[in-house]
């Protein structure tokens, strides 16, 4: 555990010592605010709800989270420091979990910095704070799932750009699985129970349950297992590819 902490601290410090962190946070805040106020027309709706804010998260994370996570293993493999890391007395699990958690905490910090949104809506009306709370939880879990996917693809390529593109495509697929257009398309040639099963794997549908104010254990378990599965795959890929 202490090694996990050491890796986590090192990674997290790495984010804040480079301009990437600040660029990311500023873009994230501008984009969430921009989408909420201009695209969703937050004021025009005249509803004291942060729905117009959270609804954009799956789409913003699509690009921003892979940008945060793409370097995690790519860089390590490219610069050869992976050899250093895995000849120190650190287990594979500690290293993977440490890196993942560092990036997750970082995204969490960016997410927490959207707190003025809560004040705004609280000032304008009386929103359901329970829904806001569960939505934040959902958004954080969603970001974790995106990040776990990114970790996996980051381990696959030494090239950060390739890692980024593959992660975006994979995350996009995971979101689209639950979108109406896509399920309709699947329904056109697959039995309903199969297309239902496929859309049940979507990030989108599970995120929506949090937006309805539910802390649905199934959705929580879903995100946690996605993260667990992706990180396990990450370990397998690393074992296979670390020598290249």
């Amino acid at each position: 555990m202490r090694n996990l902490k050491a890796v986590l601290k090192r990674e997290l410090k790495g984010y804040f010592e480079s301009p990437v962190a600040y660029v990311f946070i500023i873009i994230f805040l501008l984009a969430t605010a921009g989408c909420t106020f201009f695209l969703s027309r937050f004021f025009d709706t005249r509803i004291a709800s942060l729905d117009p804010f959270f609804v954009w998260h799956p789409w913003l994370y699509l690009f921003l989270v892979p940008a945060v996570g793409m370097r995690l293993w790519s860089e390590e493999r490219k610069s050869g420091t992976i050899e250093l890391l895995f000849t120190l007395p650190i287990t594979l699990i500690e290293a993977i979990a440490g890196k993942f958690l560092a990036a997750w905490v970082f995204v969490g910090i960016a997410l927490a910095l959207t707190f003025p949104m809560v004040f705004t809506v609280g000032y304008l009306g009386s929103p359901d704070y329970g829904i806001i709370f569960t939505s934040y939880i959902g958004s954080f879990l969603l970001a974790g799932a995106y990040l776990a996917v990114t970790c996996l693809f980051s381990a696959m390529s030494k090239n950060q750009v390739i890692s980024f593109v593959l992660s975006v495509v994979a995350c996009f697929t995971m979101v689209m699985l639950g979108i109406g257009v896509f399920t309709d398309f699947l329904n056109s040639f697959l039995p309903v129970w199969i297309s239902e099963a496929i859309s049940a794997f979507s990030f989108f549908t599970h995120f929506q349950s949090f937006q309805r104010g539910l802390l649905d254990s199934r959705a929580i378990i879903y995100f946690i297992s996605i993260i667990g599965f992706m990180l396990t795959a990450n370990a397998v890929v690393l074992e296979m590819k670390k020598a290249e």
Binding site: R2, G80, T81, E83, L84, T87, L88, P89
Partner: protein
């Protein structure tokens, strides 16, 4: 003790390391020699548990690389090839990170890092990003990282690579000093380094050990070993040639041209001694016969004017070349 037992590694159909066996004791400095791609680095990566072997195993202080990889890592200080380090960190933070992972806390952690900064002459760059450092400094950062926990076992992959001649000397002195109480394996393709540092050398080629012994023992496998090189002044007539042939134990006598003389430009030689004819010859002994004494006596008897008398120790380059090009030394 490091014991390597029929260690092998294949990458696809390529047999990078092909069943090697050796062991290294405390107080030994083992030099790993071999052409590029011979399997030196791969072997080191397996001993340090970075790469799983295809078959075979290694034990470090009785910890098996399969069964106790973390204990093995804790025992070893490892400097990977080209000394990778986190370039986005400064030297101090990087060493603090390795110290933390090595299990040091608080004051102990700080004092170890500070000591390493001193030992490796890194004090003046302690707060600089590793990315901004020169190759020599980065190599030293790698050294500091490997030595931080004062490991009993050191594995150094081309430790002097990229250093300037002075730094090379420093590092070699450091390794020799540490070699007294540690067990060190280092790889290199610089043969002088083996002679300067190592108490034992292993030459590996295409994943197999082709020679294992002290640098002196390896050198003695050279055809040059035991030969005597003479520079005779005023030996205009070639009679001397025939005479030298008669010395007991001499197999053959060869006249050396200037190209054979290592490190001496031909022009220089002629310019210094204009008109003076000197003859440079090399006397090769019969197998296993020492000819130095006989030669000296002969020179004395004949009152030959000798400018230089060298007893050749043998050339490691030649041995290396013969062993790794399919020839026989």
């Amino acid at each position: 003790m490091i014991a390597v037992e029929s260690l092998a590694k294949s990458f696809g159909s390529i047999r990078a390391v092909d069943g090697i066996n050796f062991s290294v004791d405390k107080g030994e400095i083992l030099g790993f020699l071999g052409p590029n791609g011979a399997g030196k680095s791969t072997t080191m990566k397996m001993i340090t548990t970075f790469l799983p072997p295809t078959s075979g195993t290694a034990r470090i202080a009785n910890f098996d690389i399969w069964e106790n990889p973390l204990e093995v890592r804790a025992k070893i200080g490892y400097l990977p090839e080209s000394a990778p380090s986190y370039r986005d960190m400064n030297v101090y933070d990087f060493l603090m990170f390795t110290a933390e992972v090595r299990g040091y806390d608080g004051e102990e952690r700080r004092s170890r890092v500070v000591r390493m900064l001193e030992t490796c002459n890194l004090k003046e760059v302690a707060w600089q990003l590793i990315d901004t450092l020169s190759k020599g400094y980065r190599q030293r950062v790698g050294f500091a990282q490997a030595l931080l926990h004062d490991p009993e076992y050191l594995i150094l992959d081309e430790p002097t690579d990229g250093l300037d001649p002075n730094q090379k000397q420093e590092v070699r002195a450091l390794i020799r000093r540490m070699g007294r109480e540690k067990c060190i394996i280092l790889s290199t393709h610089i043969l002088e380094e083996v002679e300067a540092v190592c108490s034992r050398a292993i030459i590996i080629d295409s994943g197999r050990i082709v020679a294992d012994g002290t640098p002196e023992a390896l050198r003695s496998r050279s055809a040059l070993h035991g030969a005597v090189t003479l520079e005779l002044i005023g030996a205009k007539d070639r009679d001397a040639f025939a005479e030298l042939q008669k010395i007991e134990g001499v197999e053959k006598v060869v006249e050396l041209t200037d190209e054979d003389k290592p490190g001496a430009p031909a022009v220089d030689n002629d310019a210094e001694k204009p008109g003076k004819s000197s003859l440079r010859v090399r006397l090769f002994p019969k197998k296993g016969v020492a000819i130095a004494q006989e030669t000296a006596r002969f020179i004395h008897q004949r009152n030959l004017e000798v400018d230089a008398f060298t007893l050749e120790k043998g050339d490691l380059n030649e041995v290396f070349y013969n062993l790794t090009r399919g020839g026989q030394a």
